[in-house]
Symmetry: C2
Amino acid sequence: MSKNLRFGLLVFPNITQLDMTGPLQVFSFLPGAEVHLLWKNTDAVQSDGVLSITPTTTFADCPQLDVICVPGGYGTDALMDDAEVLDFLRRQAAGAQYVTSVCTGSLVLAAAGLLDGYRAATHWSAVEALALFDVTVSRERVCIDRNRMTGGGVTAGIDLGLTIIARLLDRQAAETIQLRMEYNPAPPFDAGSPETAPAAVLAVMEDRFRTARQQRMDLVRQIRAGRPSRPD
Amino acid sequence: MSKNLRFGLLVFPNITQLDMTGPLQVFSFLPGAEVHLLWKNTDAVQSDGVLSITPTTTFADCPQLDVICVPGGYGTDALMDDAEVLDFLRRQAAGAQYVTSVCTGSLVLAAAGLLDGYRAATHWSAVEALALFDVTVSRERVCIDRNRMTGGGVTAGIDLGLTIIARLLDRQAAETIQLRMEYNPAPPFDAGSPETAPAAVLAVMEDRFRTARQQRMDLVRQIRAGRPSRPD
């Protein structure tokens, strides 16, 4: 049923763990799937929330994947300028069936040039940073453009994971996993996007994100300015 | 804002990691929250899906928690008869503001006697096992009965986490986390419960669960039969 599909999720310091653990649960519920947690080495990385994550596979040992997925979190800032990470993603993307991301993971794909000329989604707070790349920003929860599949913030990774399974296999395979995960969400409030959140709630988050957001914009501008002088 | 609230999530071999990582992300996004991943020792435990999880705090070192949460997964079978785990939960429950679970975690709370005379939820495939205890089974996604808060399967942990925050603090605190997590779910299919899943999809999962489900029923019956002879 799963054709021994190979999934790889990037893990890194300061990852938002649910960006990764959502699609991980989807992939690992697929019978026969091979799932890798990927980093430069196999030393545990600290997420942004208590959980430390032990990579299972190094970049060097990673086989060609069917699906590569880059989760998000503040840690993606450092990855946007990390040649080892970007080279690994470009290498895998060349042979993968789907090149995917959750949340601010799309900034890393963009920094690798893998979203040039594509539509892509990201966390609502990173829309303007993603727009600095040659990317058409989408506000869809799961954005599909050819073989690039990018999700919105954090919890969008579950919807993305199920969408990937449906594309790679079929609808029933995805529905079976959805049933196992009892994924019939019932958020107690309707504050899950800037469009629906109460103004006071949005103001709190805008305020909390302000400095990090400005730093990210500066960083992307530096990276973009530096690009013309690259050997490529 | 968070009054230095203390949250503890049980981790154990063969846990379904998303049962735990969903509410963990909610709790760890609460500014100032103290969050513990709890087990008998701090050796990594293997989840049911690739991720190994390193406990942060042993039972012996755990301070009194405001919220204790027991996630689910096949690993809960072994916990239902584990005196060290059940004793720890009873000790914490006596002083906690909320005693909570996700998925089959409610079977462990029930085995500890902590749901006697309460309404409680569980994964759809564990309803008949939970009903063998002195519990009124609820099919709500998040079931609240006095200070017991129990969730349905796997992904219900996110809804549960937000509900806990709203109860402990206020609605705005929960909404702020919901916005940060961009939790406006959009499942690509409507197969998230036995009531909505296509018959063929339900049949696949019923078939896959059959043996484990029968074993669990036998185990619960043994535990229930053994109870009268216990010193308590």
